[in-house]
């Protein structure tokens, strides 16, 4: 199945459509969630950093926290909820209403037509959405910090990016492609293979969200260890 994902022909038109749907429709969700989490994280981090007289570190902590972990994981979990459920429900609905059989009857490979574009779209879109979440988080952090200390935007940006290096940014962002692969394959599996009626549609959607969220978290542990292994300087 994994090999089939990359075996030509790739349904470019469907892939483009799915990238648009998954990306553009998830953007408001990840952007607003990132903004809110940015505000919350700054409220918490400021409370503790004040005690140590290190309030100037708030932007740095915010940026590293978001880029290294909060951004990728938050994005993946939000996409697992929104897109995973959508893929699971849509494919299972297509299965129960014989639309997948209809695709096959039209001599179209339903796996390549319906599953592959969705999985690839998740793989490609997750890193982009993660970047949006990171920047929304930073914006939220700035708003919160500005309210508390009236810090200027240039100073906030300077402090935020002071501790950030490319090896802190690229690997955690790219690892979300693996999260996208998990979300796409798990939800497509549950949707594509359902054999029950409307109950199966609900079950496919629920299972897609639950299992893909769980696997994303487990995969994150492994991927963080891999990043530490590949970039030892990023590890403490």
């Amino acid at each position: 199945m994994v090999l089939d994902l990359f075996r030509p022909p790739i349904e470019l038109e469907q892939l483009w459509l799915q990238i648009g749907q998954i990306g553009s429709r998830s953007f408001p969700l990840v952007a607003s969630a990132g903004l809110a989490c940015g505000v919350i994280m700054t409220l918490h981090s400021r409370t503790y950093l004040v005690r140590f007289g290190a309030t100037s570190m708030v932007p740095t902590v915010q940026c590293l926290g978001f880029v290294l972990e909060i951004g990728p994981l938050l994005t993946a979990l939000l996409v697992a909820g929104r897109v995973g459920a959508g893929i699971g429900a849509m494919l299972s609905n297509m299965r129960t209403t014989e639309q997948i059989d209809a695709v096959e009857a039209l001599s179209v490979d339903s796996f390549k037509f319906l599953v592959v574009p969705r999985v690839l779209a998740c793989v490609l879109v997750l890193p982009l959405l993660t970047i949006f979440t990171d920047f929304s988080g930073l914006l939220g952090g700035y708003i919160s910090e500005f309210a508390a200390s009236h810090i200027s935007a240039p100073l906030y940006i300077e402090r935020a990016f002071a501790g950030l290096r490319w090896e802190n940014f690229i690997p955690p962002t790219v690892k979300t492609s693996a999260f996208g692969f998990i979300i796409g394959t798990v939800s497509a599996f549950f949707g594509y293979t359902t054999s029950e009626g409307s109950e199966g549609v609900g079950r496919a959607a629920t299972n897609s969200v639950v299992l893909s969220s769980l696997l994303v978290i487990v995969a994150d542990i492994i991927l963080v260890r891999c990043i530490f292994f590949a970039f030892p300087e990023t590890a403490l």
Binding site: M90, N93, M94, T97, E98, Q99, D101, A102, V103, E104, A105, L106, S107, V108, D109
Partner: protein
């Protein structure tokens, strides 16, 4: 019907089970080119399964299924695609793609199976939509169509590739008598004008008599009768006579 012609579809001792439940038992059936055969039987006797076996959406546990000279039970997916190219399948629910407009539903097989340009595809789609009376609904989404319109749109999708064989699962189910009659009319016209081979699963003896040259009656997964309506009227089985009797 002239039985000397080569069968367009032939089932040889086909058996199919789902888990413990045997749905078809040793079914053998030959359908001639240009012939319309109606599959009759009570619910759950394996009619729709037979239809899906004919287009290889299901594989038989035993037996062989021939489409022309090809045994589709042995074909690889790529070769199967060539056989399916000659066939159209109208699902009971029409199975239109929810996320595509009526136009896109019809254009998909042409885009995938032919080298036609977009304008040529547009021309064919509009011609077929006109043929089924849905010329004004090209941009409508399937969810906004009535049951009869969905059936006609599903039929139109089957017809765009001008198939040699049409497999039709309950064309009149859930439709009022007038709409059902319109669908029958479309099928009849197709049969007359294009000499299309048809296999129609139906519970409607009136429609079956209008379209069907021969009836095949399934009962508990076995083929218990196969012949012209006149022949089956004299069949010893009450089940057969009741199924073909117009109510």
């Amino acid at each position: 019907m002239n039985d000397q012609r080569r069968p367009a579809i032939a089932l040889e001792c086909v058996t199919k089970s789902f888990g413990e439940k045997q749905v078809l038992r040793d079914v053998s059936l030959g359908i001639q080119e240009g012939e319309a055969v109606c599959l009759l039987g009570r619910s759950g006797t394996g009619k729709s399964v037979t239809l899906k076996l004919m287009i290889a959406l299901l594989k038989p546990d035993k037996g062989r299924i021939w489409i022309g000279n090809q045994d589709i039970s042995l074909l690889e997916p790529r070769a199967l695609s060539g056989v399916r190219r000659k066939m159209g399948f109208l699902f009971q629910s029409a199975a239109l793609f929810d996320s595509f407009s009526v136009y896109d539903n019809l254009a998909l097989p042409l885009l995938r199976m032919t080298d036609m340009s977009r304008p040529q595809i547009g021309e064919i789609v509009h011609t077929v939509l006109d043929e089924v009376g849905l010329a004004d609904e090209a941009q409508t989404m399937p969810a906004d169509l009535s049951g009869g319109m969905r059936k006609r749109a599903g039929l139109a999708r089957c017809l765009v590739l001008d198939p040699e064989i049409l497999l039709i699962d309950e064309p009149s189910s859930g439709l009022d008598a007038i709409t059902a009659s319109e669908i029958d009319e479309l099928l009849l016209r197709r049969k007359m004008q294009h000499n299309t081979t048809m296999v129609i699963v139906t519970h409607d003896p009136y429609g079956a008599r209008r379209i069907g040259d021969r009836f095949a009656v399934l009962d508990h997964g076995s083929l218990i009768a196969f012949g012209s309506p006149k022949e089956l009227e004299r069949h010893p089985s009450d089940t057969v006579r009741n199924l073909i009797r117009e109510r």
